[in-house]
Each structure stands twice: as C-alpha cells, then as structure tokens.
C-alpha cells in the first residue's frame, strides 16, 4: 500500500451526504444541510446495482438507471423516490414495503420533497429525541401521517427522508408523529 489517497469529488459528496442523512435520521425532525440540493446526492450515496428502486420522476429514474439499480414496481422497491402530495401519491405510498418481523430492514426508504419549517405542525417523540420535538412540514398530503401510522407498526415500517433544497429532515419508523 502506498500513501494515503485523497477522496475524489464523488467520494467526498457521497460521504458528506451520508453524514447528513445519518445525523438527520439519528435526530428525527432536526433539519440538516446536504452538500448538494435535491434527492440526487442521496441517491448517489445510497443506491447502486444491489438495490431495487422506484421513482415517479423521469430525471431521478434516469439517475437510478445509471446507478445500476433495478427499476421495479413500488411494492418491491427498497428505495422509493416519490412525491407525497396528491391523492394518488398517497394511495401509492400505502403500498411501500414495510419489511417483515424477521427482516425489518426490508422496510423501504422513501425520499420525498417537502417544505421544512412551514406547514403542518407536528410533535415528534421516540429514539433520537430527548423529550419531544415540534416541527413544521409542508407540501405533503394532509392524511399522510395517518397512513404512515398504519405502515409503521414498529418494528415494521418505512424511513422517510424529506428533502427541501439542500436541507434534509428525516423520520425513522421509530418516531411517533402527532398533529398539534
């Protein structure tokens, strides 16, 4: 082995993106800065040919194809890039895999656009939150939280990564969400 290598631009971005995602998921509801705006950086840090993915956006779909991931129907996907705004978005969200009791890790990661800091007021409790954390999230279907509660029957469930420009806010399945 020779001298310590330096990370290239892609390695640097993927590493910092993951650092932000890991922080955000470990501290649900706490917004964190991503090195780049949009879901593309998250895709690059997490998804490759070992993944089964779904996207409702043709641009993301192109990126998925380049990553080598298999494009699959939503109910088979481990990574779902989709909006959660319209009625049809919500109907689709209901079919996202939640894993099973033997392998809860097979519950999907859903990456969706949202407005962080404005919109519906929510109170979060659970791991990563000392007592309770109040947040505002906008641009989402009003019934999303009800549907999420039916999907996240701990330890089953889905992880939700909300992206707003270069900000991320994450909700693991272990977080309890209440409207306030």
């Amino acid at each position: 082995m020779q001298a310590a290598p330096t990370p290239d631009a892609l390695e640097t971005r993927d590493n910092l993106t993951f650092e932000a995602v890991l922080w955000a998921l470990s501290r649900p509801g706490e917004p964190r800065a991503l090195p780049d705006a949009g879901a593309g950086a998250i895709l690059s840090a997490l998804v490759d040919r070992e993944c089964r993915a779904y996207a409702d956006d043709p641009e993301i779909e192109t990126l998925l194809r380049q990553s080598g991931a298999s494009l699959v129907p939503l109910e088979l996907a481990d990574h779902v890039f989709a909006g959660l705004t319209t009625d049809s978005d919500l109907a689709r969200f209901m079919r996202v895999p939640v894993g099973d009791m033997l392998y809860p890790d097979q519950g999907a990661t859903v990456i969706a656009p949202a407005q962080i800091g404005s919109g519906t007021a929510l109170r979060l409790t659970g791991p990563g939150i000392e007592t309770a954390r109040d947040i505002r999230l906008g641009g989402l279907h009003p019934r999303l939280w009800e549907v999420r509660a039916t999907l996240c029957r701990y330890p089953l469930g889905v992880e939700m990564l909300f992206v707003d420009g270069a900000q991320i806010l994450a909700l693991p399945r272990s977080t309890q969400v209440e409207g306030i």
Binding site: R49, E50, S70, Y103
Partner: protein
C-alpha cells in the same frame, strides 16, 4: 511521559512484523514465479478458498505469508473486495467444459468413458529422497493415447434424468446479473441455493473435509456414491460492449456430484464446485449438500452449521483473535465471581459467629 514510554505498542507491532517477514526474506518476481510453477494444486486450493482466480496473485500471497494458507486467503480476499465488478460471465455448462478428468464410481463405464486424467490416486506414496542427494527427479513423459479422449463430455446426471433416475428439477432461468452474490449480500437461512453453492465453493478445504467426513461416518443420513467427479477448464465468456460474446481465457474448475439411493423413487443428488482442481473438497462438500435437506438443527450436516463453520477467513480470524487482550471482560467476570463467593461465604460466617 513515562506513562506512555513503558508501553509503546506501535514500535512493538512494527518489530514483531519485521521478525516474521525476516523468516521469508526478500521476495522477488522469480520466487513468485517458482511458487506458481511448483505448487499448482496449492495455488488452486488457495484460489478456490479466496474466490479469486488469479494464479500469480495467489503465488504472491503464499510468498508473503510464508505458506500460512489462512493468511494467504485473507490477503487474496482483502484484495478481491477492493476490485470493481466489471461484468458477470456467461454461465458454464458441465458438458461444455474442456474436461481433463471425469470419473464415476456409480457405474463401471459411463457414456463418454471413464477419463482418469491427472491423478495420484494409484501412485505409491514414496519420497524421492534421491533428489536430496543431488539426483533431479524427472517424471516419466506422458505418452499420448492412440485415440485421444474428446475434449468435452456430457453430464452423467443428464443421462440419469433421461432415464428417470434423477428428478429433472425445473428451475426458472435467472438473468446472470440477478444471481445472488454471497460476497455482496449476507448469508441468511434458509439459504438461497446460489449462496449455499458459493459458500461451499469458497469454504475451507480442511473444514469441509472434517464435517463431510463426519457425515460419511454416520453423522449424516445419506451415504454418498460419487456419481461424477470432473476436473476441467471452463471458458470465461464475457460480452463485448458491441454485443459479441468472446472467451477472455479459461479457469480450472472442479465439480463433484454425489448421489444416494435413499429417497423415494429417484436418486438424491448433492453438488459442489470450486475454482481450481480440488477433488477432496468437492466430494466432501457435495456430501454435505446431499445430507443438508431435512438435517436436524445443530447437526454437522445442517446447512447453517456447516456453512458458518467452514468459512476459512471467519473461522481462522476468530480463533486467532483469542490472542487479543480480554482483560476488561475478564475483570468484569472476576468481579461477579468475587461477589458471588463473598455472598456464599457470608451466611457460613454468620453461623460461625453465632
């Protein structure tokens, strides 16, 4: 800082490594080439257990480790994990491999004939001590057969399937890019068929032999008969970006099928294949595979049991890790032991005082 100077882990490990490396001395390309030429079967075994077909690297690994096979496997595996996956080669069909040796113990003769090929099976195991006295040992030259054996031989199981002796299991064709890959995903149970075979292919020869032997001695349900044992060279066929499939070279492979007549109406088959020529591992591995269905949990022929315990890097690593300091764990247990002892002695003391 006297506190630090009394320890000095960095210098100690540095010098300890130098001591070990001094056992082998300088390594140059010539030494590596000699190892590769002199020890083809050790190279084969190493390549199989490393799941990396690279004779030159295997020889280098042996040179660096001084012949410690487990160290050599780890060197190869650690190198392998850093390599990008460029393509998955086309599947290899048994009947399409360039076959050097192919025998069956189940029949006196088989379609295509018994081809002995290279083997020491019938040799007398005598040391050629004359070499040490200065007389080089030159093996007698091979005399070509009057009628050369065909390069390719059909699979015996195909004939048995046609006879109705072996169930013709209909498998769904899987796109080669979708074949589960043990090195990219965890082994879970019940194991995917691909994972079981891949795990056996890279298993420790000695470990597979020990557990396979236990099955042969009666800790399994089925006694194996070698249906077919084959040493061959398989074409590594890959697809050019233009779409044409071409051979990028050949790799040596071993395969064994063992069968048992126990079972309802048909022969049960166990299979094992690996990189390189390593008959013993394939027979023992196929025996484990044969015995696996329905085996009792925690028996040596239970799939979880034998696949976990024949993983050479894991087994050897865990074994040698016991050399690491464990004094925190030990201290914690000692604390319990003393407290329990004090508690046990306390009532006795009270009685004596009374």
């Amino acid at each position: 800082m006297a506190y630090v100077a009394t320890r000095g882990g960095e210098r100690a490990i540095d010098q300890a490594e130098r001591l070990y490396r001094s056992l082998m001395g300088d390594i140059d390309a010539q030494r590596v080439a000699e190892i590769e030429a002199a020890l083809p079967l050790l190279i084969d075994r190493l390549m199989g257990e490393s799941s990396l077909y690279a004779p030159e690297l295997a020889a280098l690994a042996l040179a660096q480790s001084g012949g410690d096979l487990y160290e050599a496997i780890l060197l190869m595996r650690a190198w392998r994990t850093t390599q990008p996956r460029l393509q998955v080669a086309e599947p290899v069909q048994q009947g399409q491999t360039f076959t050097h040796r192919r025998i069956s113990a189940a029949f006196k003769d088989i379609p295509g004939g018994q081809i002995l090929g290279p083997t020491l099976d019938y040799s007398h195991r005598l040391l050629e001590t004359g070499v040490l006295g200065g007389a080089p040992y030159r093996p007698d030259p091979v005399e070509p057969a009057a009628r050369p054996a065909p390069a390719r031989h059909p699979s015996l199981a195909e004939w048995q399937k046609a006879q109705g002796l072996v169930h013709d299991v209909q498998t769904e064709p899987v796109d080669k890019d979708k074949i589960p890959d043990l090195t990219r995903e965890p082994l879970l149970f019940p194991a995917k068929r691909a994972h079981s075979l891949q795990s056996l292919a890279r298993a420790d020869t000695g470990g597979v032999l020990a557990l396979g032997y236990s099955a042969m001695r009666g800790y399994g349900n089925a006694h194996p008969t070698v249906n077919e044992l084959r040493l061959s060279e398989a074409d590594l066929r890959v697809r050019h970006p233009r779409g044409t499939v071409f051979s990028a070279g050949r790799v040596r492979t071993s395969q064994a099928e063992v069968v048992t007549t126990k079972g309802k109406g048909a022969l049960q088959v166990g299979f094992c294949a690996t990189f390189g020529w390593n008959e013993m591992k394939c027979i023992a591995g196929a025996t484990l595979d044969l015995n696996a269905p329905g085996a009792a949990k925690n028996s040596p022929v239970n799939e979880e049991f034998f696949l976990y315990h024949t993983e050479p890097v894991e087994a050897s690593g865990f074994c040698i890790h016991f050399k690491l300091p464990h004094y925190v764990t030990f201290q914690s247990a000692l604390d319990n032991l003393r407290a329990a002892k004090a508690k046990a002695e306390a009532p006795a003391k009270e009685e004596a005082d009374a």
